[in-house]
Symmetry: C2
């Protein structure tokens, strides 16, 4: 019998925000796979480390972050082939995913390659957006409000339109787009409703009103904006 | 020293999707509060049941679900006053929340009443949207795609506009709006991209293409639509 691939959400970074199911599966699965930036420790593996059995075999996928997608695609092809080999030998594999596997997660690229011919089970995780709201003490959305997640690399016109039409929203993947996003929020009069959160739930986390945020933002940061009732009663 | 109020996300329903942190806090906190529909078991308490200490004192908030919001507001006023009394006596209180506390959660109404004068810590949970995507085996959103959460009670014009402008979206709070939402999706040519998920991660869960979905939907159901690349490579 071929093995099962588990796509295991690990949550935003605090190892205590792993679910009981994820912890059980990681400890019980003989093969643990995870992505990493070449030359660095795997963030996903670090979150899950205490649960990984000393006897587990590990498959590390080195995924380059380049503008050209071909090198990353080749790395996912290779990683998927290694995982498929283990599954075909009848072994289960747990693929470790920061946050939630199907929410802007790298697991989706593994899933696309393996789901057509293998048994896959996805274990959802705490998404970074919910973690950021919790750490900022910011109720995100209630009742019949529209909530949107907006990647910062989108063009100004698209971002502006979506910012206007949602009651609350998260702007993710800030990085070098931070100054442009701040200018847009300012133009729409939303700066006072905006919070900046960096590395939510990690020891070096920062959660501040956007007006107190740094000029440049790392990859693991986001802005949350709520236009809803404050407070909701 | 006054106590701390913990808003504890429990995830979508499977008790194994509670986080390690939530399980630890529930077991260690002397007072456990939770909402319930009058005359029924509390869904939140049922999810967390195995972690609640036998010696815990429980504060049950009976919250009526009526169109007029005044009775629910009065119930939250009363519940918040009881929780405040415990906090003022120096005891910690864990408030149990299905899903994530700040994502369409009833905890927000408790938070609004208590956060101004008490110490509150929110523990994020697995949101039902991510759980539904996992159970449907449906990669939700990737790269620079816009993801939106749309409550079904919104009017047709608003729903249509938001459905058109997002790359993928979840329609929540379906209930009696199910036929109208189906008609809108059909009109936009999106039925073939839509999945229906009911009671995600619970024993009686159902996850099917929308074309196979029932005519009426319970409260704990949603539709997920993805227009993105299929599969993402």
């Amino acid at each position: 019998m071929p093995g099962t691939l588990f796509g295991v959400g690990l949550g935003p970074g605090d190892p205590e925000l792993i679910t009981l199911k994820a912890a059980r599966l990681i400890a019980a699965t003989p093969i643990i796979a995870y992505p990493a930036l070449p030359g660095t420790e795997s963030i996903a593996r670090n979150i899950a480390a205490t649960h990984i059995s000393a006897s587990a075999h590990e498959i590390r996928l080195d995924i380059p972050m380049t503008r050209d997608r071909a090198p990353a695609q080749a790395a996912y092809d290779l990683g998927a082939a290694r995982i498929a080999e283990a599954l075909d030998c009848g072994q289960d594999v747990a693929f470790l995913c920061e946050g939630d596997p199907f929410f802007y997660g790298s697991f989706m690229y593994v899933h696309a390659r393996l789901a057509p011919h293998h048994t896959v089970e996805v274990v959802p995780g705490v998404a970074s957006v919910m973690a950021a709201a919790a750490r900022a003490g910011l109720p995100l959305t209630a009742r019949n409000e529209v909530f949107a997640v907006l990647p910062a690399p989108l063009d100004d016109k698209t971002l502006r339109g979506r910012m206007e039409s949602a009651n609350s929203f998260a702007i993710v993947k800030l990085g070098r787009h931070m100054p442009r996003v701040r200018a847009l929020l300012n133009e729409l009069g939303l700066t006072g409703r905006a919070h900046y959160i960096e590395r939510a739930t990690l020891p070096d986390e920062r959660a501040v009103p956007l007006s107190d945020a740094p000029q440049s933002a790392p990859y693991f940061s986001m802005i949350l904006v709520t236009k809803g009732a404050d407070p909701w009663l």
